[in-house]
Amino acid sequence: MTVGNLIDSCGFEPLNVASPDREISGAYSGDLLSWVMGRASEDNAWITIMSNINVIAVATLVDVSCVIFAEGVTPDEETRKVAKEKSVNLIVSPFNAYETAVKISGYINE
């Protein structure tokens, strides 16, 4: 499943999609950034409600395939600008973290 396909399949909003063809492998949900850095894996889809600029650094360092903001959370202009510069895929889900995870679970391989 690619990031582009996931957006289409789940009805998410693409906020910054630099690489729609990027493959997703597994997912991780969490808001504490050090937990995400310690536990999330490369190519995961990362579900979070945290939307400050540090999220982009963490997404870059862990090398997740995309960040899915749950609950319709939308990051500010500066964060979106940095995401664009760093080619980080950002998606907005209208659902909460649990519902988002349930929704994508049918599409993502571990």
Partner: protein, 141 residues
């Protein structure tokens, strides 16, 4: 004899939002050198945690990343308050960060444990009122 390659960074203690610039840059530099992605991931995450710690607790500091033949060495130096109890600080979940820091998603008490997790060796030298130096190495396979 192979040449030693060093990347030097000043970590700004005032600007919390720019924290991570050094580690993202290191990631780029190591990628150019052809270091394997898994090694790069470990080095850059360990370094980012160190950077964040220096911003949160020490008002900034300096980071030096040395690329040696068999390992990458990260040296983080600050002149902050020092770590009172290193054993406590190494425990997952222990943090002295403020609520303000927590709202940004940090202060989970996972910084030092993550640095240890992602490095092959880690040495902490801290003196109260003087500062802290942390040396981490990640072996290149």
């Amino acid at each position: 004899m192979s040449e030693e390659l060093i990347f030097h960074f000043d970590v700004d203690g005032e600007d919390f939002t720019s924290a991570g610039q050094a580690s993202v840059q290191v990631k780029k530099n190591l990628r150019r050198l052809g270091i394997s992605p898994e090694i790069i991931r470990r080095v850059s995450i360990a370094m980012y945690e160190g950077e964040i710690n220096m911003v949160i607790h020490a008002g900034g500091g300096v980071a030096d990343v040395k690329v040696l033949e068999d390992r990458i060495e990260i040296v983080l130096t600050d002149h902050g308050p020092g770590i009172k109890d290193i054993d406590m600080a190494m425990q997952e979940g222990y943090s002295t960060a403020t609520d303000n820091i927590r709202t940004l998603g940090f202060g989970a008490g996972m910084g030092l444990p993550n640095m240890k997790r992602y490095s092959d060796t880690m040495k902490i030298d801290s003196t109260l009122g003087v500062g802290t130096t942390i040396v981490m190495t990640v072996n290149i396979q």
